[in-house]
Amino acid sequence: MAHDNSYVDKKFNIVGTRFNRPDGIDKVTGKARYGADASAPGQLVGKVLRSPHAHAQILKINTSKAEKLQGVKSVITFEDLPDLTGADQGMADILENCMARGRALYDGHAVAAVAAIDEQTAAKALKLIEVKYKKLPHVTDVDEAMLPTAPVIHDRIFTRGVEPKPTKPSNISSRTEMGNGDVDAGFAAADVIIEHSFKTEQTHQGYIEPHACLASVNPDGTAELWVTTQGHFVFRNVCAGLLGLDIAKLKVTSSEIGGGFGGKTHVWVEPVALALSRKANRPVKMVMSRDEVFRATGPTSSTSIDVKLGAKKNGEITAAVAELRYQGGAFPGNWAMLACMTAFACYDIKNNKSIGWDVLVNRPKVAAYRAPSAPMAAFAVESAMDMLAKELRMKAIDLRLKNVAREGTLAPYGPTYGPIGIEDTLKAVKAHPHMRAKLKPNQGRGVACGFWFNIGGQTSTDLNIGVDGTVNLAVGTVDVGGSRSSLAMIAAEELGIDYENVKANIADTTSLGHNDMTEGSRGTFSSGMATIYAAREAIEVLKQRAAKTWGIPLEDVSWEEGHAVATGKGHGNLPKLSLREIAAKSGRTGGPIAGHNEVTADGAGMGFASHICDVEVDPETGRSTIVRYTVVQDAGKAINPDYVEGQFQGGATQGIGWALNEEYIYGDDGRLQNPGFLDYRIPVCSDLPFIDTQILEIPNPNHPYGVRGVGETSIVPPLAAVGNAIANATGVRMGHAPMSPPRVLAALDALDNAG
């Protein structure tokens, strides 16, 4: 049955209201089971031996003593993970990242692993593995890695996107350029030009639940994996590929997930656990320590960015250029390319150019972190916008409104925008009472805007109606933030029944077709779309059953508010049939009633947001305290406003942490110095005020309810919103994030000495 994804304006009964989430009780009672909460009979404890060097040749690994230790059931190295990846370099990189193949590429890189009967034995076994390393020169800074003198990490990397093609390998995997118009002419026409350089340090998604899984491989090639993940179907495909298993024979069940934010879209311990289990012929449970999570999973890029803006006296920006250098860790990535797409995306600037450099360093392989690459680019561009506004003696918000992108504006990466919400969010910010609140001494206010794409992706959904009229909804998108509630609401809305009669579950990989990850703000958007279509299919079946029951043609049956209604001539005396009544008879009218849908949900909208931040800077310590924060974001259509607000507040808080305190600190030895929550300081409850939110709804024309993804955008504006607030509070422009107390204090001191 073909489905139309066009937006239809309609009045909703359930969608848009606030319902309690179905998984709430399990989570508040401790019953909900996360990655580390499963056990299997005879299970072993798996542990990983990790490189203490940033870059080293692995000359020899001697596992014999570990293998002989009483209680050790398997020991593996890369030799137990043969390379089956063929010509797929991307998969080969994943394999090598999970277990070093002759060379340790970063502090914490996995070198070997053991499975033993308990924690203590496994820890002892690790100590008995003898590894002979030859240390190699290392580089951890993105700018240093680009120098011709830098140690080259992979000699197969020749920079793509550069003419003529380089003859020598380097750490620069690619150069990207995109833009429109003629920036030289644009700058020539400018009355005012602003140029500034920015640096952002590496941060981690910081989910409170470490990676964990329980793997069980049988001698006949079947296997099971219980795992905390943002996408169990993708994990299945990747693990099956790396281990040479058939996809249908590897059953992956997603546990509840204790936070992901992009950091659980890749495998690290999972293939290792499967390999250990295969060798030991017993289930293997692996739980990462917090130290391992920081050192050896997928943090985000650290960056170095130059921005140049030119404008006429009236505020019209005539040219904009950004050069963005992003490190992707020890393997090639596309992070700088992504940054190029987002840098100027909020604005209509006829002459713009973004150049991105993707660089390798001896750090963990970078993974996506909520609107990947956008927060750093926005820090640079939105800070520069405020600097430009100051030069032009314009209000920061007015400069943005003068140059804002609208429907019909050419995006920096090529296509023309459909209906988008950036202007509405800026206008809403301008009108917001927060903008008129009085500021106290040492306080300043900053605004910033940001955007993120939303993606659609492959989705498969099942809707089954029980004989008592209650409904099971099986979806394949992992619930990271409450989407089961929204999806149940959508099903109830379509079917015309009560929310309480729909139970949404996340199915395992044997029960549904492929579902892409919950990332790209796609969970509610895509599974919501599939739920609508599955419900509409079920309604067709319900109508058919009613038609059969009444003995009238199907065309004479319509579905209204949860009932089959006989329309047309002569049927007036037929009483309506409720969903429950039809379901009760289903065994006699043709069997169980269901609806199903596979869809690649394309046409995802874009999420735009504008934030307002008030900060108080202590001139003695350089410490910045957020005293007030407001998020205004376009959600297209908020299915459950409680959970939309939650996404706004959570993303803003991560951005605030990134702006003020969070950073990876590497020593001269290339080792991570702060792999723990004590010294990697994320925001705590006492750091923050209440975070005000305003949900705008500019419908996405490519979704039946107008839904836009909301999960990611709100991490994008905070870095600059905070930076702009600090500039307004102190007169100091901070170009290096995080804007931690020592950095701010140093800048204040420099200002004092200069003035």
Binding site: A32, A36, G71, P210, V480, F677, C685, L688
Partner: protein
Amino acid sequence: MSKSTLVSTTVNGDAVEFACPTDESLMTALRDRVGLTGVKEGCGTGDCGACSISLDGRLVCSCIVLGVEAEGRTIETVEGLSQNGVLHPLQQSFIDHAALQCGICTPGFLIAAKALLDRNPNPNESEIRYALAGNLCRCTGYDKIVRAVQATAKDMRKKGRS
């Protein structure tokens, strides 16, 4: 494998015995020996509060208490908050206020919030925020958590409950 010590405690009102090595944390003992997986490990070093329990009425991070230290003492975990299937007001309030997203930090927050309301039934916003500063949440930004605790405190005072 090092020898285990037998430990006798009261957990959520029931007499419980478990055996654990002397270097094992109470968090691991509760999770793996007693089966109470509602106690979560977020960091293992006392920095995140996900493993929060009440030990003889005192809020502690169970990951930095030894299992053997629980000998003869009383332990309360999230599993003991509801009584006979009736949720504690804090648990209901967290659901009603959407004060959880992924939920991994929720057990720890509930124990910490209960510890606060047990000693201070009328906390102001600042007191709530500082009392909960030992519990990390990465999903919510704490906004709805604080509102849920405020609402519960107000309700409990109204009903004369403590």
